[in-house]
Amino acid sequence: MIHTSHLSKIYKNDAVETIALSDASFEIKKGEFVAIMGPSGSGKSTLMHIIGALDTPTSGTYALDGEEVGKLSEDELADIRNRKIGFVFQSYNLLPRTTALKNIMLPMVYAGLPKEERIKRASDLLEMVGLSDRRSHTSSQLSGGQQQRVAIARSLANNPSIILADEPTGNLATVQGEEIMAIFQNLNKKGHTIIMITHEPYIAQYAKRIIYLKDGKLVKDESNHRQKKVRF
């Protein structure tokens, strides 16, 4: 469902050119659980933003479900971000001063869901990530792990087929990290495609496939035959 060929991203700041991504070509099929690994600054987030239709490549093409994303209008891109993709940011990116429930409801607002349905679905998602008792807490009243779980619940708001998570466990303790992996494996079992960035090898072990990036280049792409399973 994801098909990229020769993706490159070059940032130009003043006279300085940074090649963040260089000639990346790969394919990801429906139902995969992929971990993207690589040292800091290797272009993982850049790649993820392009896959998430949040940013455009400098060159190369990216097709999602057979549609070339570069040729879509702004509004069509907004629709894809809204319905097909759930994005979990490295820094959570919750709306400040806004309750957990309302944060989760936001993508549903833009999908045009009626209010009662939004509240019901958001409550269900909060329950799924184990935060039912925190529905009226604002972002600043939640711990890092709780904010991360709200962000995951929000990424699932419109039941997207693809979930993109940028270092979802980066700021969390090991136990919390495992809780998040449990959520992802569960979602993957239900048919969601999951792409997750991590720089921690033990987290990558929960994925079925691992792609390695270095200096913006795709250096290794292999199946993980010894996928670690979380017990539920």
Binding site: H49, G52, L54, D55, T56, E74, D75, A78, D79, R81, N82, R83, F87, F89, N93, L95, P96, R97, T98, L106, P107, V109, Y110, A111, G112, K115, R154, N158
Partner: protein, 406 residues
């Protein structure tokens, strides 16, 4: 999202950041309130001056000694001694001038007036009996100065209501005695308040016979003003010319350029006053415009200060699937709401302010419609434009650029 939901979410967003909302609203309120109050007060002042001039008596021509030509030094007018009682009598007696109802002559000085233990410095006006009709004066008690008083140089006085209460308090002054510059005068009447309001008190005055004033009190043979009451206001220009030529002949002046007197109508006074109050109103409007600008800059500032946070918010909303259109609608609704609330509060503030101030300085209360439209238009425009503009800019960034904005 339908309209009510857009409105609701805008309200929510505004309550989320109370400080920003309060400050921006304050900018709108102060800008609008100041403009409405200042412009309204300016207009009230203008109206008060006009009312006062009209209350002097309508259809009036006034002759004063001295020239009042453009370019001349103004103080020359009114200080010379060229006008005599005989001039006033000649004007009334001249049968070739038609349209004159009555003529009065006056002389005005400030004097020290004593009544028992009370002492005041007030205006003493020497008048003819015709003054009452010419100036449309009503009596509260007693009578006005009569022809007999004039002819006999009687030492009688009529008090204006303010002078009466200053000198006698609640006691009826009629029959009492006052001393003006050590001369005793018997009080024969008190006039009714000439009403109006204002800058110069027309009720704080003492009337005495013109002849007494000239010969016994001030020791002069000239007069200060001649007041000519017309039958119709339309005759003003014609009578002014005829009186002018009569006085020129009496003063043996052949060239009207050298006239040693000035005639002006009520329209002239109104015109001059309108010019002065116009300047006054322009000045207030200038101050108002500055407050509008300051309020506007306040709104701009607060909108721009929060731009970073809001740009990130817009990036996030776009990342979660908001279309540009929705972002713009949301921000426009927010700033429109803020402007409407601020506008209503501002109109209230301006109205209350001009009401209170006009009561304090005793002016008629008016609210200027133009100032409301102008103030709401400008402040509202600024509020909406500067709420919308950063949003529009942020909405054009890619979600990632907007999320990274700092």
């Amino acid at each position: 999202m339908d309209f009510s939901e857009t409105l609701q979410s805008a309200l929510e967003a505004l309550t989320l950041n109370k400080l920003r909302t309060t400050l921006a609203t304050l900018g709108v309120v102060i800008g609008i309130g100041a403009v409405i109050a200042l412009v309204s007060l300016g207009q009230s002042g203008q109206k008060a001056v006009e009312a006062q001039i009209k209350s002097l008596g309508s259809n009036l021509l006034t002759v004063i000694p001295g020239a009042l030509r453009p370019g001349d030094i103004r103080s020359a007018a009114g200080t010379s001694t060229t006008l005599k009682l005989a001039d006033a009598k000649a004007i009334l007696a001249d049968k070739s001038i038609s349209g004159i109802k009555n003529v009065s002559a006056e002389i005005l000085r400030r004097s020290q007036v004593v009544a028992g233990r009370n002492n005041t410095n007030t205006q003493v006006l020497g008048v003819l009996s015709s003054y009452q009709e010419v100036r449309n004066l009503q009596m509260q008690s007693g009578r006005f100065i009569t022809e007999t008083d004039i002819n006999s140089l009687a030492k009688v006085a009529v008090l204006g209501p303010q002078a009466a209460s200053d000198l006698f308090g609640d006691v009826n002054p009629v029959g009492q005695t006052i001393r003006i510059n050590k001369l005793s005068f018997r009080i024969v009447g008190v006039t009714v308040a000439k009403g109006a309001s204002g800058f110069q008190n027309q009720d704080d005055i003492i009337f005495i016979p013109l002849t007494t004033a000239q010969k016994q009190l001030f020791g002069v043979d000239f007069i200060g003003t001649i007041s000519i009451q017309l039958e119709k206001q339309e005759l003003s220009d014609q009578v002014r010319n005829q009186v002018g030529f009569l006085l020129l002949a009496r003063h043996r002046i052949s060239d009207p350029q050298n006239a040693d007197f000035t005639i002006f109508s009520q329209a002239d006074v109104l015109g001059a006053a309108a010019q002065v109050t116009g300047i006054f109103t322009t000045l207030l409007s200038g101050i108002a415009a500055i407050s509008l600008l300051v309020g506007g800059i306040g709104i701009m500032n607060i909108m721009f200060v929060t731009v970073t946070e809001r740009t990130r918010e817009i990036g996030l909303r776009k990342a979660l699937g908001a279309k540009k259109k929705w972002i713009i609608i949301q921000f426009l609704t927010e700033s429109a709401l803020l402007t409407i609330v601020g506008g209503i509060l501002g109109i209230l503030l301006g109205t209350v302010l001009s009401f209170v101030v006009s009561k304090i300085i005793n002016l008629p209360f008016t609210v200027s419609m133009i100032s409301i439209i102008l103030a709401v238009g400008v402040s509202g425009g600024i509020g909406i434009i500067f709420g919308w503009y950063p949003a529009q800019k942020a909405a054009n960034l890619s979600p990632i650029e907007a999320l990274r904005y700092e």
